[in-house]
């Protein structure tokens, strides 16, 4: 069956460290992958897009990698801050139909 898996347990790290979040998928061949941030009581907010032919994308303190062989994307936040505390969702774009399928999200807690 098709699955998108993100760590269900919260990731708890110290301020200033690098947070690394994982998104694994099975039985999908995504054309691209997006990462979103969601704060309590709010809708998800887009962060980064990476296409199937790209290995890595960066934006300020954020970095995303995409390994289509391992069927995995890693999302890194360097020099993390308490304000980075939120739930992070990965989403797969499986074709050109504009359809986007979300993982269950990983909650990140950054301690001061």
């Amino acid at each position: 069956s098709q699955k998108i898996e993100q760590n269900s347990e919260a990731l708890n790290i110290q301020e200033g460290k690098t947070a690394t979040l994982t998104c694994n998928y099975t039985n999908y061949s995504p054309a691209y992958l997006q990462w979103y941030r969601q704060d309590p009581g709010r809708g998800p907010v887009f962060l980064l897009l990476i296409r199937e032919n790209e290995k890595e994308k960066r934006k300020e303190r954020l970095k995303v990698t995409f390994d289509t062989t391992l069927k995995q994307s890693l999302f890194h936040i360097t020099a993390s801050q308490p304000a980075d505390s939120a739930t992070y969702l990965c989403a797969l774009g499986v074709d050109s139909s504009y359809k986007l399928i979300f993982g269950s999200g990983t909650r990140l807690l950054v301690r001061p």
């Binding site: 691209y32 997006q34 709010r42 809708g43 504009y98 986007l100 269950s104 999200g105």
Partner: protein
């Protein structure tokens, strides 16, 4: 630019009652989505519109859920009759039509509690 507007923000109903949610997407966005997000889970796609036509409603429980998009702009999602398991946040999102991998813009959702 104004964001995606949703109303109401919260709704509490009893099971077997009906409820409707409203969404106004970002102006000019051709694609509109309704997602259901149960507590602790990721958003689950219910229905996707391209302009005023349905592209994908494979996950919509059609015996109780219905949705329409009037004139390719605003959209409403209705549940009739509601069940306890429908308790969730209902998120509306829109997307420009120019690129299939462009980001989704979400509203802040309607939190539905069915008692």
């Amino acid at each position: 630019e104004a964001g995606v507007a949703q109303s109401p923000r919260y709704k509490i109903i009893e099971k077997r009652q009906s409820v409707a949610f409203w969404c106004n997407p970002i102006s000019g966005h051709a694609t509109l989505y309704w997602y259901q997000q149960i507590l602790g889970q990721g958003p689950k796609l219910l229905i996707q519109f391209q302009n005023n036509g349905v592209v994908d409603d494979s996950q919509l429980p059609k015996d109780r859920f219905s949705a329409e998009r009037l004139k390719g702009v605003d959209s409403t999602l209705k549940i009739q009759p509601a069940k306890l398991e429908d308790s969730a946040v209902y998120l509306c999102a829109s997307r420009q039509g120019s690129s299939y991998n462009s980001p989704l813009h979400f509203g802040n959702g309607t939190r539905l509690t069915v008692t």
